[in-house]
Amino acid sequence: MKVKVLSRNPDDYVRETKLDIQRVPRNYDPTLHPFEVTREYTRALNATKLERVFAKPFLASLDGHRDGVNCMAKHTKSLSTLLSGSCDGEVKVWNLTKHECVRTLQAHEGFVRGMVVRYCGASFFTVGDDKTIKQWKMEAMGYGEEEVPLNTILGKTVFTGLDHHQKDGVFATCGQQVDIWDEQRSSPIRSFTWGVDSFSCVRFNPVETELLGSCASDRSIVLYDMRESMPLKKVIMTMRSNTLCWNPMEAYYFTCSNEDYNLYTYDMRYLQRPVTVHMDHVSAVLDVDYSPTGKEFVSASFDKTVRIFLKDGGHSREVYHTKRMQHVICVKWSADSKYIMSGSDEMNIRLWKANAAEKLGVLAPRERQAANYSQKLKEKFQHHPQIRRIARHRHLPKNIYHQTKELRIMKEARSRKERNVRKHSKPGTIPVVSEKEKHVVTVVQ
């Protein structure tokens, strides 16, 4: 009789070094691991709960301004540097890692309206209420030296916005008209007007670098091409747009923040109707900035909240607020897509995480795997009511909560009325207008 003895090859269970993980042979026979759906569901539920537990997005508050923060600018080459301009004309340069101000300069009299860092990161431009454009060196002056701009251009009218070209020494300002400037000249190389008296924002397209977009006070958004002598097109909406931001990864999409509490994403080739209407704010939206990955954007609103939207999501995926944060005037998404900076009325700049529950810092491989797995599970079970309920639950300040409710009631009432009117009139006389079409008045060529 032959006796069979258990024998295993040590290669199958002995690890090569003691730093390796213990080898665990596994049997994937499905009969040995039953209830896969229920088990994964439980895991997904736990992952969702933990995500909510770990969602602590607020990182730091940078204080030091003596007036509301009116504009901010990201450094193009350094992640840890942020520039901010306040309503008293002061510009501060911040070190984000140390949470401290490294430089302060009195740039303008009155508001600092706009600020932008040159593509090389060596200097930055500011415009202010004193009708000047100033160029400053990025390095701080030596001890005892006076802060003097590299260059000052005195304009005829007040400038309200500023943006720099992605690769050339060209920048654009807006005020009573949109001007394109060469850095070497003291007069604009091109001026665009189109029967509008003032503009609030001008932005270069980061991909098709010769295109520009601007928001005008006649409720319109105007597109330009730097190479042409004429503007390209404009769309007039029901209410005024405050700012506009191009998608950095998709050349023809831009999003504008509107006074009617909404944001609109447009395809610049088809301005007749926006691609998406992003709703959720309960007051005017003041600023918008895209994530550098082009997948999401962040918006700042007069209702004292910052919201994050998916680029094609009708509603926000996240809302940030604190008790002390007042009207948020400007917001920026950091260039590594991990952080969000918001500047608000009450003189503070706040640093937030872009993903509220994300662990910062280096992840161990197993940690990363676990995070990926739980993310996938959340995605897989996202339609299940319990998981959705937990994942979507957010705390809101009382007034915003009530305002949201009120707005919803108003909207329902309006749509009900429209329905009733349609019901009691001749068929076809009152057309159904979709939400997207409602907000566009005309497109002017």
């Binding site: 896969e36 992640l79 998709e250 023809y252 991990k338 990926n372 339609h383 060529q445």
Partner: protein, 721 residues
């Protein structure tokens, strides 16, 4: 135009006559002037007209033909004369002359601007549309990695830098030619062939180490040799004997290793040994038959040392004649091994080894009687087996011990059974005294009868005489496995409160209906279920082999404690009866009910003491149809509920989510697990890949135009493939 008008004015005049008429006119004018000049003062003329003109200049200067528009015909007239004009242009001009359209007046400023804007917009739109492909591709991509074109950090290898640079000046070219001629590396291999060869060769340190090793080995060898020489010179026999013995031991050890590592050499050694053995067996060298041995044998009576020496010789013989057992010839050895293999029932006993929960020990249906007998048989066989294993001298005593133990065990068992029987007799009387409320008792009998019905089918073979103590169930659902268990059992039995927890044995059932009839009063009684009645088979008591289960003393003590604790904690629980009650309740709930809808006084006389007529009652009593038979009807130990559980629906998706088109799609997504429990590592990695990957601390630049070019190249490459 003018000419035409004139022509219209005097139609009857031909072109030649017209000219003539004009001249006439002029003459007449002059005449009139002359006449007017004759009379009175002369008027200052505004302008002198030498010929008739429709338009008059304000500067009183009139050029001839000023008012007229230049006609194409005027130009064409000279055309024929100039030879420089080509025939083509001539033709064109002629055609132009024939067509009599005017150029439209220019558009307004607004209009032109609008057109310009439109054109510019079209241009920009087409330019921007080039990105369509990339954008769509990125939207569909499973994973996007940012920054888009990452360059590996750290210093670049020299060759990569060099490849982009080419020798251009004549000097450079000359140098490169020289380099290539001498097999010097230019781009990819940084090292020359000789250099790589030298790298492959030994380094200096390595060589030094090697030399030191060799030196050491040589020294060791010389020491060893010296030692061996010294040892060979020793004359002491005893020394050599001991030495040889040691050597042999060492050799045996080595041989064992050799069997594993070098079987061929081992085989050779084995052969040698076999030969030595054969020689030993043939010779009488160590057989105590030599001269020396005989002399010693004489001395042995009186001398201890002599006796020892003889014994040693015999031992040597034994050692030498012993057959070597190795894995090489294990085929022959198998019988020997077989003896040690445990009988199968040992494994059976071990099954539920560490369940410390007493409730989990019983088996509801198991062929008890047969097993028990076989167990006992096994036990004795086992005992015998164990005894056989031991050395022959000890055999007898061992056997005695074993049988003693067994006898002890059996004694315990019989004693226990006796006690159970006694208790069984006692408990029903106690039950009578205490007794339960009638309803409960009835229920219980119902259960038991129900289960008896079910049991009867299965129980045909089993003898079910209630008085037979052998078939009775052990109290509690404890499985006994070790001696300690048995001891514990006896302890438990001595403790009265624990004994009361045990379910009553069979005689209770017999007395129960009797009891209920007797005591109609509502007295609370501890609800007990008659396991004997309810269960088709008895739980198995497994006797455990004595020898093989080796247990830690401490461990078993702990176990005891735990078991005792759990028993105490669940003292009041009667899980089985609870279960049966539950099942009964569920069955009752599913039974059809008769709904009585009769209203007294309707359709007939009403009042005190009047009965509702039978006819009416029959009409208004509604019987619902009986439900389909329950699935667990014939399964005594299961409850199968077919009701929909509303608590689950809280967790279920109630409508098909957006991107899915039908239920099967969604279900397939949900049903395919992602975790590592169900998938291989690689699959998990692939499936759980994040959609967007960003690097910590890396600036993500906006999409660059170069990306477009790259995409185009890729596209063409893809097409080529």
């Amino acid at each position: 135009c003018e000419e035409q008008e004139l022509n219209e004015a005097d139609e009857n005049i031909t072109s030649e006559e017209e000219e003539y008429g004009c001249e006439d006119d002029r003459k007449r004018q002059k005449l009139l002037e002359a006449i007017s000049a004759l009379g009175g003062k002369r008027k200052k003329r505004l302008g002198e007209r030498s010929e008739a003109a429709v338009q008059m200049s304000e500067f009183t200067v009139n050029a001839e033909g000023e008012g007229d528009k230049i006609d194409l015909s005027d130009l064409i007239g000279t055309m024929d004369k100039t030879p420089a004009i080509s025939a083509k242009t001539k033709n064109r001009l002629r055609k132009l002359q024939k067509s009599k359209k005017t150029i439209e007046c220019p558009l307004s400023k607004q209009e032109t601007e609008r057109i310009q804007r439109d054109v510019a917009f079209q241009k920009a739109a087409t330019e921007v549309s080039r990105w369509d492909g990339i954008i769509k591709q990125n939207q569909r991509a499973e994973q996007l990695v940012f920054p888009v074109n990452q360059e590996p950090s750290g210093p670049k290898p020299m060759e990569r830098v060099v490849t982009s640079w080419k020798a251009q000046t004549p000097l450079e070219q000359e140098i490169f030619a020289l380099l290539s001629a001498n097999k010097q590396p230019i781009t990819d291999p940084i090292l020359t062939p000789t250099e790589t060869a030298s790298l492959k060769a030994m380094s200096l340190e390595e060589a030094k180490i090697r030399r030191a090793e060799l030196q050491k080995a040589r020294a060791l060898q010389s020491y060893y040799e010296a030692k061996a020489r010294r040892e060979r010179k020793i004359k002491s026999k005893k020394y050599h004997k001991v030495h040889n013995k040691d050597k042999r031991k060492v050799f045996l050890k080595q041989f064992d290793e050799m069997v594993k590592t070098d079987p061929a050499a081992a085989l050779e050694e084995l052969n040698k040994m076999e030969l030595a053995r054969m020689q030993e067996r043939m010779s009488l060298k160590h057989q105590n038959s030599g001269k020396w041995a005989k002399s010693k044998a004489v001395m042995a009576k009186y001398d201890e040392g002599a006796r020892k020496a003889m014994q040693q010789q015999l031992e040597v013989n034994k050692e030498l004649t012993q057959k070597l057992i190795t894995s090489l010839n294990n085929e022959e050895e198998e019988e020997g091994v077989d003896v040690e293999v445990m009988p199968d029932f040992v494994n059976d006993a071990e099954q539920g080894l560490d369940s410390s929960n007493p409730w989990m020990r019983g088996k509801l249906s198991e062929d008890h009687t047969e097993k028990e007998i076989s167990d006992i048989v096994d036990l004795s066989a086992e005992g015998a087996g164990v005894a056989e294993n031991t050395a022959e001298e000890e055999e007898d005593t061992e056997k005695v011990e074993e049988t003693e133990e067994e006898a002890l065990l059996r004694e315990f068992d019989s004693r226990r059974k006796l006690r159970q029987a006694q208790e069984a007799d006692v408990v029903p009387s106690a039950a009578e005294e205490l007794d339960a409320s009638d309803k409960e008792a009835e229920e219980l009998t119902e259960f038991t009868s129900l289960f008896r019905g079910i049991a009867e089918q299965a129980e045909a073979a089993a003898d079910a005489s209630p008085s037979d103590t052998k078939t009775q169930l052990d109290e509690g659902l404890m499985r006994i496995k070790t001696l300690e268990d048995v001891e514990l059992l006896s302890q438990e039995e001595s403790a009265p409160e624990i004994a009361s927890v045990q379910p009553q044995p069979s005689p209770a059932t017999e007395n129960l209906p009797h009891a209920t009839q007797q005591g109609g009063k509502n007295r609370k009684r501890k609800r007990g279920i008659e396991l004997k009645e309810v269960l088709t088979k008895e739980t198995k008591v497994i006797q455990v082999p004595l020898a093989p289960t080796v247990e830690d003393k401490e461990d078993s003590d702990e176990n005891l404690d735990q078991r005792g604790l759990i028993k105490e904690a669940f003292a009041g629980d009667d899980v089985i009866s609870d279960f049966l009650r539950d099942k009964r309740k569920q069955e009752d709930a599913g039974k059809p009910k008769v709904v009585d809808l009769t209203l007294p006084g309707w359709g007939e006389w009403g009042g005190m003491g009047l009965k509702v007529s039978r006819n009416k009652r029959r009409r208004f009593r509604i019987k619902t149809a009986p439900p389909p038979p329950r699935k667990d009807e014939r399964l005594p130990s299961v409850i199968i509920s077919e009701r929909k559980n509303s608590s689950i629906s809280l967790h279920q998706v109630n409508s098909l989510p957006f991107p899915f088109e039908n239920h099967s799609q969604f279900e397939s997504i949900i049903c395919s697990p992602v975790g590592r429990t169900w998938n291989t590592e690689r699959t998990v990695k692939r499936v759980t890949k994040p959609k967007v990957v960003t690097r910590l601390g890396a600036i993500i630049e906006p999409m660059a135009r170069e990306e477009l070019m790259r995409d185009k190249n890729h596209g063409s490459a893809g097409n080529a493939k």
